[in-house]
């Protein structure tokens, strides 16, 4: 079907499929020169045993995290597995694969594949909490990033500390509803009837990808996992391929292989660029909107719902944070990788929903709701900066500018005078546990053994610990607050 649409595709072979001659025959006979044959990095029994390792799984392929995925093996074993796979791939196809994907690949494996076999791109699973025993949470939202040499899930901040293989995020997550452990699956995976299997949802998703600001580039990964079977995927995949062909023909998107995409990324970006993912309309017609902004220093997510807007998520990135499986094999049956939370709407919400909420302040400092009036205006200011301008009920506006290392907030009333406003950080017991100190210029955190902070730009506001556990960030006398999230 994809061949008939004349679209290039990437076919990533797990080792057990690689060594099955009927797949070899299928792909050698059916694929076009513009297609890519790549590697899929789950570890099945034949690969482990050929590498001289005792198979610990219950089946030929076992999805248990410390059996089916590279972190379940020691660094030396990981390299051995790579050598076996690459040798057999080369023997069958006459070259080494250019890209390698998996739900998760560790940094030791990636660095070795890059150095010895010159792979040009990788991909890993979208952010998720707990699905199938895998948690990837707090990372670069969608698009792609260069990972740290110490931690494949963590975007690197410097060229010296990064693996020069961009990792693209898989599955095309719904930027509003595919968040944390929220119920349902809302991705481009064609088997989900309310998302990738729905013409309305796919059209909505692609329209946002095409028409909203993306900064460096917009990205989506479509396609399928053959474990679902053709019957389950055919409706969604058929409608997706038809739409992609039409949009490619109109010049609205470029359909590329993962290898082509990786080479493009490496050609234009030596460091991870800022990108955004934006949806200003709601396929559920419940008036939610969202803006994701990512740089190599942090990610932030703004959500509009229930007549208000707030920061749902803010995580910092630190290339020096060592992965728990960097030197040793994963011993648990589930895997979990994360970054450094400043605010986590998914994992910090309890009876009260966690978030950073902009509030107006009464003359005696009491918080009052800051209500939006109409939709926000979201614009790209330059290749790195994204502007969100939210008109406010009662006049005035709230301006947010996301830059690579900082976010600037400004509240002004209708005549252009500074508003009396603040940001309230509401994170419950999890926030209380993570926060070490609050000074006038910084909030200092400690999480999973790592110290990090949110800082205020000099003379651009101050921090305050309130008695009810809330942390308040207040602007300067000009109504401006600048929060620094990296580069220090």
């Amino acid at each position: 079907m994809i061949k008939q649409a004349n679209l290039p595709a990437t076919w990533a072979l797990q080792y057990d499929a690689l060594i099955n001659s009927r797949y070899e025959k299928l792909f050698k006979e059916q694929l076009e020169p513009h297609d890519e044959i790549a590697a899929w990095w789950e570890i099945p029994q034949p690969l482990a045993e050929k590498a001289g390792l005792k198979w610990r799984g219950r089946h030929e392929w076992d999805s248990t995290a410390n059996v089916g995925f590279s972190p379940g093996y020691t660094p030396a074993e990981r390299r051995k597995l790579v050598d076996i796979y690459m040798a057999d791939f080369q023997a069958i196809f006459g070259y080494y694969p250019r890209t390698v994907g998996s739900w998760y690949i560790d940094e030791v494996t990636l660095a070795y594949m890059a150095k010895r076999y010159h792979i040009v791109a990788s991909c890993n699973c979208k952010d998720r909490v707990g699905t199938d025993g895998y948690t990837l949470w707090g990372g670069y939202w969608n698009q792609a990033y260069y990972p740290s040499r110490l931690n494949a899930y963590m975007p690197a901040q410097t060229k010296a500390s990064q693996i020069d293989v961009p990792i693209f995020r898989m599955l095309g997550s719904d930027p509003i509803y595919q968040y944390g452990n929220s119920p349902g699956m809302f991705t481009l995976e064609p088997v989900y009837p309310d998302a990738g299997g729905s013409a309305d949802w796919v059209t909505w998703f692609m329209n946002n990808l095409i028409h909203q600001p993306a900064l460096a580039f917009g990205y989506a990964q479509a396609g399928q996992e053959n474990s679902f079977g053709w019957e389950a995927m055919k409706t969604g995949l058929t409608l997706q391929v038809a739409l992609l062909a039409k949009q490619a023909g109109a010049g609205e998107i470029q359909v590329k292989t993962l290898a082509q995409t990786g080479l493009w990324f490496r050609r234009y970006y030596s460091l991870t660029p800022p990108t955004s993912v934006i949806a200003l309309d709601d396929w559920k017609h419940e008036n939610r909107k969202t803006v994701w902004y990512d740089s190599r220093f942090y990610r932030v997510n703004f959500l509009w719902e229930n007549g208000a807007f707030f920061i749902r998520d803010l995580h910092r990135f630190d290339e020096n944070m060592v992965s728990p499986t960097h030197d040793t094999a994963l011993t648990t049956t589930s895997l979990s990788y994360g970054t450094l939370p400043i605010m986590d709407g998914a994992l910090w919400s309890g009876t009260e929903k966690a978030g950073i909420r902009p509030v107006l302040l009464s003359p005696n400092g009491e918080p009052l709701p800051m209500f939006p009036d109409g939709p926000p205006v979201v614009k790209k200011l330059n290749p790195t900066d994204l502007s969100i301008l939210q008109p406010l009920r009662g006049g005035g506006s709230f301006s947010i500018v996301c830059g690579e290392t900082n976010v600037a907030f400004t509240g002004m009333d209708g005549p252009g005078r500074p508003l009396y406003w603040a940001l309230n950080l509401i994170g419950g017991v999890q926030q209380k546990s993570a926060v070490q100190t609050v000074t006038q210029n910084a909030v200092v955190y400690h999480f999973t053994g790592v110290n990090y902070s949110l800082r205020i730009f000099p003379d651009m506001g101050f921090c305050q610990q309130l008695g009810n556990g809330v942390i308040r960030l207040t602007p300067n006398s000009s109504g401006k607050l600048v929060v620094i999230l990296g580069g220090f």
Binding site: M1, I2, L7, A9, T10, W11, A12, L13, Q14, D16, A17, N20, R22, Y23, L26, Q30, W40, E42, P44, R58, H59, E60, W61, G101, C123, F168, M170, L209, A214, L215, A216, F217, G218, Y219, A220, Q221, A222, G223, Q224, E225, N226, S227, F228, G229, W230, M233, K234, L237, V241, L244, A248, E252, I253, Q254, V255, K256, T257, L258, T261, W264
Partner: protein, 67 residues
């Protein structure tokens, strides 16, 4: 050439210049858009078997073949 003719020629030249500039600007804007591509990968990954499915080898192969 009379002064008035020179002025007319200049104005015609300016008009041509403005039109050319417009095309040039449009070309720059087009390139700016092209520098922020929307890229889609059709990425299919292929296993040989899946313990969760009966007769999985054939089911997985057929899924890959039909795609």
């Amino acid at each position: 050439m009379k002064p008035l003719t020179i002025i007319h020629a200049f104005l015609r030249g300016s008009l041509s210049f403005l039109i050319l500039s417009g095309f040039f600007l449009a070309a720059i804007l087009q390139r700016a858009n092209a520098s922020e591509p929307r890229i889609v990968n059709i990425y299919n990954f292929v296993r040989n078997s899946d313990y969760r499915l009966p007769n999985s080898e054939d089911i997985l192969y057929e899924a890959s073949r039909y795609c």
